[in-house]
């Protein structure tokens, strides 16, 4: 302890940490009935850190070329000491991360935590979710196996339905007319450089906003307070941090169990000349969109069905980004049941179409 104190003192003398220390000591977290939902952001952050750490370890052995990618992943899971664990944790954590991010987003949505003055926190969070989906899409191809190869073919071809910029966008994504080694190189660069750099900046901003503004309190809880009554708080450090760590431990135990009992299958190496294998489908988080596009008729009112579907999803994404600016009632501290109903419907749609898509595939 004496050593720690001396180090802190040494740093304090040079960096003047008193402000930071004061901030940590003074920071409080409101206590209310919905406080459990507020741990989801911490879990998402933790899983992102797991992804970064396990991803860096995988980079030590992964080789991003169509000739070697599959073999290098095979080498990692069969020859590298604990390589199987790192790869399985990376794969499972990626999925849990997106699940946690969606859960975090919906909890913030339903608790109206995006309302003024936290609009920018919401916007940065939604963009972070998009980035996580981008991580998932680009990372899926990297093992260069049959399933990911053909799923990427289908996935990138959907981009072609975007009016005007669709076809050049597909070529840009693929690095050519078809999914080849050039696509793998691009997706690799996207996955390990472009997306992480962007995500780090956005995540930094997101966390900065959260720390500056503190945690939101649900409208219902605030309205239930009597005049002059103040909401109880717990110290951020160590009370709230310890609870966060507790949840992280549960997350890491879940990850370990999944990695040991349900190792991520590697499948067969991608072969562009092979017949398309049965059961081609994207990752579960794209399944609802994928299945919706499949169900759309080829033409709707003279326009291409797939193009309309892609445009609709683009519009939905744009609306999601500006939700805080649309929900004027929430910004005034009033309930906004219409948006809540919309959110419930969206959630039901996503769950239902994911299940239907999974069963159809």
């Amino acid at each position: 302890m004496a050593l720690t104190s001396r180090i802190v003192e040494w740093l304090d003398e040079r960096l003047n940490l008193s402000d930071v220390r004061h901030f940590i000591q003074e920071k409080g977290v409101p206590i209310h009935a919905q406080k459990l939902w507020y741990y989801l952001g911490g879990v998402t952050l933790f899983l992102f850190m797991v992804q970064v750490a396990s991803g860096i370890l995988l980079l030590l052995y992964y080789r991003p070329s169509s000739a070697e990618a599959y073999e290098s992943v095979q080498f990692i899971v069969t020859q590298v000491e604990f390589g199987w664990l790192i790869r399985n944790i990376h794969s499972w954590s990626a999925n849990l991360l997106i699940l946690a991010a969606f859960a975090h987003m919906f909890s913030v949505f339903f608790l109206k935590a995006y309302r003024k003055p936290r609009e920018l926190t919401w916007v940065s969070g939604v963009f972070l979710l998009f980035l996580m989906l981008g991580f998932g899409f680009s990372g899926y191809l990297l093992p260069w196996n049959e399933l990911s190869f053909f799923a990427t073919k289908v996935g990138t071809s959907i981009t072609g339905a975007v009016p005007v910029i669709g076809p050049p966008l597909v070529r840009f994504l693929r690095g050519g007319d078809d999914v080849t080694g050039a696509t793998l190189s691009r997706f690799y660069a996207l996955h390990v450089a472009i997306l992480p750099a962007t995500a780090t900046i956005l995540l930094g901003l997101h966390l900065l906003f959260v720390q500056r503004q503190g945690m939101s309190v649900p409208i219902k809880t605030l309205r239930a307070l009597k005049p002059g009554e103040r909401l109880k708080e717990m110290p951020f450090f160590p009370d709230y941090i310890l609870r966060d760590v507790l949840v992280w431990y549960i997350a890491i135990a879940t990850l370990a169990a999944l990695a040991a009992f349900y190792p991520w299958e590697l499948g067969r190496k991608a072969d562009a000349f092979a017949a398309v294998p049965a059961g081609i489908r994207p990752e579960w988080y794209f399944l609802a969109m994928f299945h919706t596009l499949k169900l759309l008729p080829s033409h709707i009112m003279g326009l291409e069905g797939e193009m309309l579907g892609v445009l609709a999803f683009g519009l939905a994404a744009a609306v999601l980004v500006i939700v805080p600016f649309l929900d004027r009632r929430a910004s005034r501290g009033e309930p906004s049941p219409a948006l809540t109903v919309l959110g419930v419907l969206a959630l039901i749609y996503m769950i239902a179409f994911t299940i239907i898509g999974y069963m159809a595939a």
Partner: protein
């Protein structure tokens, strides 16, 4: 039977070629007017035999290339009267039959220079080959019942042999040959060299065969049909001495192994002794061994017979290998289901399965020693697969033990954290 196909090759391209040569050009030119006269008149006839041919010409390869009635039948298509049109002075020869069919077709199809203009790769020896066939010889001796060009390729509506509608297309050949050879009435009076009646069961037998299944169910056009063993234009039964060669055309390695075997000197009908000819059924390991259902037992029933001992050894060897493959596949399946990476082991298993195929091939040398050599190599591969599979199972168990240890450690930390949090709550 294949000679039918060949004849088709002769007839069609010949007619096609006519169009490009001097003769062809002249014929093609007359065809325009000739066809009109013949067709106009014949189409109005009430006798279906006479009115049907013009309609049947639709899609005919000769007609497509500008040839018409007069190119085969002679006569004058521009004549308004039947007598003038059918004038012998104009070369009218009516409906060619028997030897005349060969002559008419060979006029073009045996002309290399002419055929070269239409189909440079086309053979022009079909008529000569036909003359060497049983059909050709019998025709020369006056038997007009035998097949000629038109029997297999048709007269009107002739199609290229690679056209699926052609009677000489691989999937249609058996039915085409069977048109005569499966007809007891048609084949009445024909006999085998030993004087016995010529059987008419070939088509039915062939339709039960593995070759027919490959051709019609698997759409494998390289699978043999009648002409692949008997020849087409020069169709004749393969002689006993050439049976191994006929089967060995496709089953090369089997034929090579068989040639080294003791049976090569003994079997009068080579491969057919065990596999039959037209009714070649799916071979199986059950054919080998000493039980009464096996093929070997039909000759080697005495326990002291070296053949009996050898067949027992070979069957045991193959069975041991098969069971080994099943057992290893089962092990790898279990490991795979547990989510372990088994790509290399699956490759090795495939290699072992290839060795089983090789072992079954090697068996045709009927030498238990050489079979054991092939099986031994396969068993070594299986031993490697089993070792890898067991290592994976051990690794799996190790992972799970490690997981439980980790979970126990995490649980302890979680409990400690819960107590700490409770303590902090109590303080506040």
């Amino acid at each position: 039977m294949t000679w039918f196909r060949g004849l088709a090759c002769v007839v069609f391209p010949a007619v096609v070629m006519l169009a490009c040569t001097g003769v062809g050009t002249a014929s093609a030119q007359t065809a325009q007017t000739a066809a009109n006269g013949c067709v106009a008149c014949h189409a109005s006839l009430s006798d279906a035999r006479l009115s049907a041919p013009p309609a049947a010409l639709q899609g005919d390869v000769h007609q497509t290339h500008g040839f018409s009635c007069v190119d085969c039948h002679g006569g004058d298509a521009s004549a308004a009267e039947k007598v003038a049109a059918h004038s012998a002075a104009k070369g009218y020869r009516g409906k060619p039959a028997g030897k005349d069919v060969i002559t008419v077709c060979a006029r073009c199809h045996s002309d290399a220079e002419l055929m070269h203009k239409f189909a440079p790769r086309q053979r022009v020896d079909q008529a000569a080959e036909y003359a060497t066939s049983v059909h050709g010889k019998r025709l020369a001796s006056g038997d007009t019942q035998v097949a000629t060009c038109i029997s297999c390729h048709g007269a009107h509506g002739v199609r290229l042999v690679n056209d699926a509608k052609s009677p000489a297309f691989p999937t249609n050949v058996a039915a085409t040959c069977g048109g005569c050879h499966a007809s007891a009435e048609h084949m009445k009076g024909y006999t085998l060299p030993d004087g016995k009646p010529l059987p008419t069961s070939q088509l039915a037998d062939y339709q039960r065969s593995v070759h027919h299944a490959a051709l019609t169910k698997n759409n494998d056009l390289s699978a043999p049909t009648c002409n692949d063993c008997h020849g087409n234009h020069g169709a004749a039964p393969p002689g006993v001495s050439s049976l191994t060669t006929v089967c060995g055309t496709c089953h090369t390695v089997f034929a090579t192994k068989f040639a080294t075997s003791v049976h090569a000197q003994i079997f009068e009908r080579a491969c057919i002794e065990c596999h039959s000819n037209h009714a070649v059924l799916q071979p199986s390991d059950e054919m080998l061994g000493t039980s009464s259902q096996t093929v070997c037992a039909s000759c080697h029933s005495d326990k002291d017979d070296p053949g009996y001992v050898a067949s027992a050894k070979m069957r045991a060897s193959i069975d041991r290998f098969k069971h080994g493959i099943d057992s290893s596949a089962n092990l790898i399946g279990r490991v795979k289901n547990a989510g372990m990476e088994v790509g290399d082991d699956e490759l090795a298993l495939n290699e072992a399965r290839t060795r089983l195929v090789l072992a079954r091939t090697e068996m045709h040398a009927f030498d238990p020693g050489s079979l054991d050599g092939v099986v031994g190599e396969g068993m070594k591969i299986l031993a490697g697969v089993d070792q890898a599979g067991n290592r994976s199972l051990a690794e799996l168990a190790y992972r799970r033990r490690g997981l439980f240890v980790s979970l126990a450690a995490i649980l302890l930390v979680v409990i400690a954290l819960v107590f700490k949090i409770k303590g902090l709550e109590a303080k506040s």
